[in-house]
């Protein structure tokens, strides 16, 4: 499995990040919003069927987060730490290789 292209950033921020409240709630670490794992907001989760995928990159291009990156063979990889489950990828997928499934927690 390929690594998230943001891995280095995420690791850097996690190392520097402090919850200590600053005057004006100013955030001094660039890119620190990655500590907020927006994947916890998700209700429907994209389930990927590799057999149907034609590697058109539409899901990768249109993911607003972005929580989809590509592996070595250019298949999409879903980053569930940040995927909010908006379903745009499933809606746009021309071969219906992505299905939104209700997630039970």
């Amino acid at each position: 499995m390929a690594e998230s292209p943001f891995k280095a950033d995420i690791e850097r921020v996690q190392k520097e990040y402090s919850e200590k409240m600053t005057p004006g709630a100013i955030v001094y670490i660039p890119g620190s919003s990655v500590v907020n794992k927006t994947g916890s907001w998700r209700v429907f989760m994209p389930k990927f069927n590799k057999d149907k995928c034609v590697r058109c990159f539409l899901c990768y291009t249109l993911c607003p987060e972005p929580a989809i990156y590509l592996d070595e063979e250019s298949y999409p990889v879903f980053d569930y730490d940040y995927c909010k489950g908006c379903g745009i990828c499933a809606n746009e997928c021309p071969t219906k290789a992505i299905e939104m499934v209700r997630e039970s927690k």
């Binding site: 600053t22 709630a25 100013i26």
Partner: protein
Amino acid sequence: MPMRKVMKGNEAAAWAAKLAKPKVIAAFPITPSTLVPEKISEFVADGELDAEFIKVESEHSAISACVGASAAGVRAFTATASQGLALMHEILFIAAGMRLPIVMAIGNRSLSAPINIWNDWQDTISERDTGWMQFYAENNQEALDLILIAFKVAEDERVLLPAMVGFDAFILTHTVEPVEIPDQEVVDEFLGEYVPKHAYLDPARPITQGSLGFPAHYMEARYKVWEAMENAREVIKEVFDEFEKKFGRRYHMIEEYKTEDAEIILLTMGSLAGTLKDFVDKKREEGVKIGAAKMTVYRPFPIEEIKALAKKAKVLAILEKNVSFGIGGAVFADASRALVNEKEKPILLDFILGLGGRDVTFEQLEEVVEISKKALEGEKVEEINWIGLRKEIL
């Protein structure tokens, strides 16, 4: 040498701004404060003040531009009143929450409806919960001084909160009085340059200001504002001391006048304090044990000073030009909070007067004393009293 000039309260405020050397002034005209930015724009146009003067399309934009300027790291100033201040309302919370030490001059004016351009304090009093410090001036000299003091307190690292300085519409804004303009070098020494450590823009140090605060962090950010306002109590006193050393004029959270043996103490803010001093002199000649007190700082509310003042009085009469419908005057409610757990306290009475520019006369003040005397003698009186009402047209 300090220069003495005869000027209106609005000019005194503009002079204070000029002396403080803000880098950005953004303002929108409104009666009775228009002359403040007008005069400042002349200073800028004449090259006497090196600042960006931003003409905006509303007060909401004026304060927003000040927020932007202050967040970028420079000293910012604006002036408004009444409806203009009300239009700024949401941004006032933002300025305080983002901890931006903006200073604003207010020509204290009533709020509509009915439309009225004259003096009371409803505009600033209605913004008491925004996190802005509030100072009230008795005369034009105080308007100038308190703006300089406000900058110094606001920019202190223990505070970092915005401040508004109120001076009564027309009674001060448009009335000419002699004002001492301090030397620029002494003001420079007193204020220094604004060099923020917390909020400024620098590409080499990218930061996020005004971001979202989730329930996990919002309360702590608000608590920091609370803490800063608490810190302001001490900082204000320090700055008052320093101001006296540099400029020779003394300020107090609450200034007392002939209170030592007073049974009745009249507490007020703003220009009415001047009227009260004359009135107290007259009543003293008649043998009435009466004193007056002027609250210069309304936020943070001078809780300890109210407690100390209350110990001297049997009746503490609060005279105020504002009303919170359904409870009474704001100062009365706040003073009650200061005294609620005191074992011994005076009778607290509220007198709402002078709304919408109605003159406060000695006849009205006699009525205040009559009611206070009745309370002193154990007679039951109303806690909230509207003074000077024209009952014949009600």
